[in-house]
């Protein structure tokens, strides 16, 4: 591993542990809500994926 050419910031390295914890809670909540909505027949709106749906290898020259 080479030394970073910019300072990543000690605070930013520490905060990621907390932010990851928050993320886990948020994602868990979303999953639960999705399931509850699913029970009542409310489907979550699917966002189009801007990268994957586009070209396939077939249209490469």
């Amino acid at each position: 591993m080479i030394a970073l050419y910019f300072d990543p910031g000690t605070g930013a390295l520490i905060v990621q542990f907390i932010a990851a914890g928050v993320a886990a809670v948020v994602l868990f909540y979303k999953t639960i809500m999705g399931k509850i909505k699913g029970i009542f027949g409310m489907k979550a709106k699917q966002e189009d994926d801007f990268m994957e749906d586009s070209d396939t290898k077939a249209d490469d020259n």
Partner: protein
């Protein structure tokens, strides 16, 4: 051929980019050989190329001192401060996708600069082959703060206060400081756990540890980091800018007469065929309606508009139609992106980047009255501007009887007399200094005139 180091490529000691005649090449320094070899041999570079996440490169020479790569050339370099909200969002999501894929393959992104992404062939693509490093187990993402200042900050500020904030990296080349960012965000941002953790808390910790360069001993498992990336992805993916602007759905709102619309389209097609056009810039091109008439002939069309929403509409169509030759960008003719950064040579100005492309034509429909009457730009100066865009110009001149022009003139109130020069004769006289007027067509049943012009050689 002359080989020249690109002046924007100096921040990362792993290597640098240079041009060799027409080709874009990248030198890799020995310090980065282990990473480069691992990325190549593991097939991860190939994966990134196949997914169209990273611009393809191939190795063309190798010595103990240097490896030289040749990268696919990107004709038009565009910058974050020229993207609409949706483009900015997609650039952010692409960065997160790449980091997640990196972790799955035991690599990590060592930087997350928004300047590492360019819109090319209809989509954002990552351009820095040397931004990847080995992932060490249980280490946090070192580029996390940069991701927040380059992507999340501008996106969230635009979400709350409008798309002008997407231009943040033009004034602060590395993004706004976290302290300032946290201070500007409205109180309701505290209702979002994602913003509390990733901006407010981050800003506080930054302040607390600003002088500390200590090694961080905490461990962040890969699973936890993926969760962090996923939640940022979800949050950014859900962000919407709900600004309404003057030019939203311009063509469907304005009472364009159907006939004059068709005349304009036909004139545009004919002009582009006459000049044997291959490449084009459309100034004030809104959502690209008129440029789309030329997509079958043109290799590259840059559609520039001041209105970020119109640019977003255009980008949506590019995605929907899978158009590879249209690049929608936000550009204000009255204040185009300048040359920024060290020596004023890190980010190149809009005009320099366009001039370098040596485009075949410039389209300027329904824009001169705004430049002249809203921006108070004399004809002489706007003619000079257009002469720098391309050797061929198609320009539409709305006369004084046009309803828009009348409205703009009325809004000058007492100073209306100062704009008496806004007329057909004066326009032709000023533009003739820079261009030769080749064809002139008053559009029937409208108060507008179409001109096709050729640049004079002495300019």
């Amino acid at each position: 051929m002359e080989s020249k180091r690109i002046t924007s490529s100096f921040r990362d000691p792993s290597g640098f980019v240079f041009t060799d005649g027409d080709a874009v090449k990248r030198a890799v320094n020995p310090i980065y050989f282990p990473q480069y070899d691992a990325l190549t041999q593991s097939g991860f570079y190939t994966t990134l190329f196949e997914k169209k996440y990273l611009i393809p490169h191939r190795e063309i020479s190798r010595s103990e001192a240097q490896i030289i790569l040749q990268a696919e050339k990107i004709p038009f370099v565009n910058y974050p401060y020229e993207w609409s909200f949706l483009q900015y969002k997609h650039a952010a999501l692409l960065t997160l996708k790449i980091q997640k894929l990196c972790l799955e393959n035991n690599f990590t992104l060592k930087d997350a600069s928004a300047f590492n992404i360019i819109f090319h062939q209809g989509k954002p693509i990552f351009i820095d082959s040397l931004s990847f490093d080995f992932y060490e187990d249980n280490t946090p993402w070192k580029a996390y703060r940069q991701f927040i200042t380059h992507f999340l900050g501008p996106l969230v500020l635009s979400r709350y206060y409008g798309s002008d904030h997407l231009k943040m990296l033009a004034s602060d080349i590395d993004g706004m400081t976290l302290k300032k960012l946290a201070a500007i965000l409205p109180l309701k941002s505290f209702l979002s756990p994602t913003l509390v953790a990733n901006i407010h808390l981050l800003a506080r910790y930054e302040g607390k540890y600003s002088a500390s360069k200590q090694a961080v001993k905490n461990r962040l498992s890969k699973i936890a980091q993926v969760k962090l990336l996923d939640s940022l992805y979800d949050f950014i993916n859900g962000l919407k800018s709900d600004e309404n602007t003057e030019w939203d759905h311009y063509y469907s709102q304005i009472n364009y007469n159907e006939e004059s619309y068709l005349v304009k389209k036909e004139f545009t097609r004919q002009w582009f065929a006459d000049i044997d056009g291959r490449t084009l810039i459309d100034i004030g091109g809104n959502d690209g309606t008129f440029s789309r008439e030329l997509t079958d002939k043109a290799e590259l069309i840059i559609v520039a508009d001041v209105d970020a929403n119109a640019v977003a509409q255009n980008y949506k169509q590019v995605l929907k139609n899978k158009e590879k030759n249209i690049i929608p960008i936000v550009a204000d003719v009255l204040n185009p992106a300048g040359a920024y950064g060290f020596n004023n040579q890190e980010r190149f100005s809009f005009i320099d980047r366009v001039a370098e492309l040596k485009l075949s034509g410039c389209l300027a429909l329904a824009v001169i009255h705004h430049i002249t009457l809203s921006g108070n730009i004399p004809f002489d100066l706007s003619a000079r501007f257009f002469s720098r865009m391309a050797p061929n110009l198609l320009i539409e001149f709305p006369t004084r009887n046009d309803s828009w022009v009348t409205f703009l003139l009325e809004s000058k109130r007492d100073f209306k007399d100062h704009f008496d020069f806004y007329n057909e004769a004066e326009f032709e006289r000023s533009y003739s200094v820079y261009f030769e007027i080749e064809r002139k067509l008053p559009i029937r049943s409208s108060e507008r005139i179409l001109y096709s012009m050729k640049r004079r050689n002495n300019n």
